[in-house]
Assembly symmetry: C2
Homo-oligomer: 368 residues x 2
């Protein structure tokens, strides 16, 4: 498993690459739709495939709680369990322990918390997180990290950063075999010197890839951008760089410009279920009465199953009437939108014209 | 548009036929999944098609309330609105006025009621129901009938039967053009002499087809069977016979045996959403813990997308985790089960062996 840079943009840090995994190659920059509980919400594997998404994200924390790693391992791993034969990255649970779990106690040895589903007490060491993801059999595993909110005092952020480094080291040591890639996660909040130290030390450990973590936890957008730029510049050019939990199309464009290669976010799927479609002319709320008799597709420029077959009028009706089909159709559209966005980004970088693509995309996207 | 009997079973009243409609031929006996609000719940048209279902049912009452016939007519009719290019039958709303509407007042002139969605006062004459369905542009329209519950006093049932006959006559007179078939609905509760009179009079009016209505409203199963047998025997052999709102596989087999040609029911779709699958070995509750690590498909004998790709273990997980994908997969399976059941029935009748098929099917279905 290797990562190879294919092309470098002429005026920005944007680059295209190919990441080889056990279940196939991923052209980067790539977007991963979120399949938390062994399903990209509302979509079947064949529906995901025809959006031309290359890799999906699963969540070790959720899968440990339900159905449990025993069930998935017995089924032959997460790929076979959910019938998805292409790459899967699993998040370790660090972020979920921070955002979802209850009664969390974190020591250097382990994170201990109560399941958000049934209150069961769970103890997770960094070694457990590596083993858990090995049993899930995914292509890319993430180390367990210690994530803190914003704002947090410097001392707390520094402590979490130090623990994240300690856990990263132990995760590497706990690793068995090389079939599954292991990515580190940088922490350090919005403190540049902590981010820098964390990133440098993790790079020294030589992971297969690096994620920028602990962002989108409440900090202002400028702070996020600052940390992304700083982190990307410190990460080795020959390893994939993954910005976790991002984001809106404009956020992705900005991060790519700084040299980020991978993204995941609930936005396309969650917003679809709330009746919001991403289109080439901006975001569209399908419940709006203006769509009541509209014969137009969601997006004139889209080639997805939803846009080729259904009018805004019909989609609005499905949402007004509470029909599940509406959620599925908008989700497939939004995931296709993100797949097309990243494909457009890759094509533009290959031509050395990322800046032109970004400008053109945003001009149309923000016009209305 | 014609109905032609193709084969007659050797020992029962079961028969196969072909019903020609504007949107294609329907081989009978046929089952119609319910697409009340311009969608067979959870399924896209392509998912419905691959179950090999030939015709779906829409509901004029629901569509009038939401999104309104104006919206659907503007879209070019119900077929174009929902992107379903095969036959559609619409129910008139008689049953919904009885079962869903509030503050209902029924006179010979019209049914007047409050919408179950927003309480809006709606007045519907039999002529309105014909015109409404003409605007929806479906292949088969049903006359507006007056449905009463069980038990009901004879006087009330007789009054509703008399009104149903009056409305049927006026529906025929209100009809414009012959592109859309118009089916009558028999009433008369569980009183044989009322059923007989209603059926004879409707047959005298020469409709394109006849439905047995007003059943499954609380009466015992033996009463239902009695009315079905009596009604089917009185209906003309050269017209399609449709038993409304039925039912379980065993009910369909019994009705086919009496010469019924068409069925609709919410069971395959509704039960799927409640986690119940119909299989060749009986009904299966996917949430049961026995399926926790089962690698088996829902039904070994099934060729649907769900059974070809997913294990009971995965499906159980989807239901436990509240994933919408589980509802969609079970729905597609159940609809395919009903499509296969009716295809099996047709093949058996063609061979003159309906009784053998029924016996074999039920032996396996009821064994566990």
């Amino acid at each position: 498993m290797t990562f190879r840079i294919i092309s470098q943009d002429s005026t920005t840090a944007a680059r295209t690459g190919v990441l080889n995994t056990t279940h196939g190659d991923i052209a980067t920059p790539a977007f991963m739709p979120v399949g938390t509980q062994a399903a990209v919400k509302t979509l079947s594997p064949e529906q995901i495939k025809r959006t031309r998404i290359q890799i999906i994200l699963g969540n070790a924390y959720h899968l440990k709680i339900r159905p449990g790693e025993d069930v998935i391992e017995t089924a032959g791993g997460l790929h076979r369990f959910m019938n998805w034969d292409r790459p899967i990255l699993t998040d370790s649970g660090g972020y979920q322990i921070f955002s979802l779990a209850q009664m969390t106690k974190i020591s250097d040895r382990a994170a201990s918390f109560q399941s958000h589903i049934d209150g069961a007490r769970i103890m997770l060491t960094p070694e457990d997180a590596v083993e858990l993801q090995r049993r899930l059999g995914t292509d890319i595993a993430m180390v367990l990290d210690h994530c803190v909110g914003y704002p947090s005092e410097r001392g707390l952020v520094e402590d979490a950063m130090r623990r994240t480094l300690l856990w990263a080291r132990r995760s590497l040591d706990a690793r068995r075999g090389a079939e599954q890639m292991l990515f580190a996660i940088t922490q350090g909040g919005v403190y540049p010197e902590l981010r820098e130290e964390c990133t440098r030390q993790l790079v020294g450990m030589n992971f297969d890839g690096y994620a920028v973590g602990g962002l989108s936890v409440g900090e202002p957008k400028e702070k996020t951008a600052e940390v992304v730029a700083l982190s990307a510049a410190l990460l080795p050019p020959d390893k994939p760089r993954y910005l976790m939990g991002v984001g809106f199309p404009e956020d992705i464009l900005n991060a790519v410009e700084n040299g980020i290669d991978m993204f995941d976010c609930v936005l396309p799927t969650r917003n679809a279920r709330n009746g919001e479609a991403f289109t080439s002319t901006g975001r569209l709320k399908i419940r709006n009465s203006e769509h009541k008799v509209s014969d137009e597709p969601l997006d004139e420029e889209c080639d997805c199953y939803c846009c080729r077959n259904f009018s805004r009028s019909y989609l609005r009706h499905l949402f007004q009437a509470g029909e599940i089909l509406g959620l599925t159709l908008l989700t497939e559209h939004n995931v296709r939108f993100y797949a097309k966005l990243t494909a457009g980004i890759r094509a533009a970088i290959a031509k050395g014209n990322f800046a032109g693509f970004k400008k053109g995309f945003l001009a149309k996207y923000n016009a209305s």
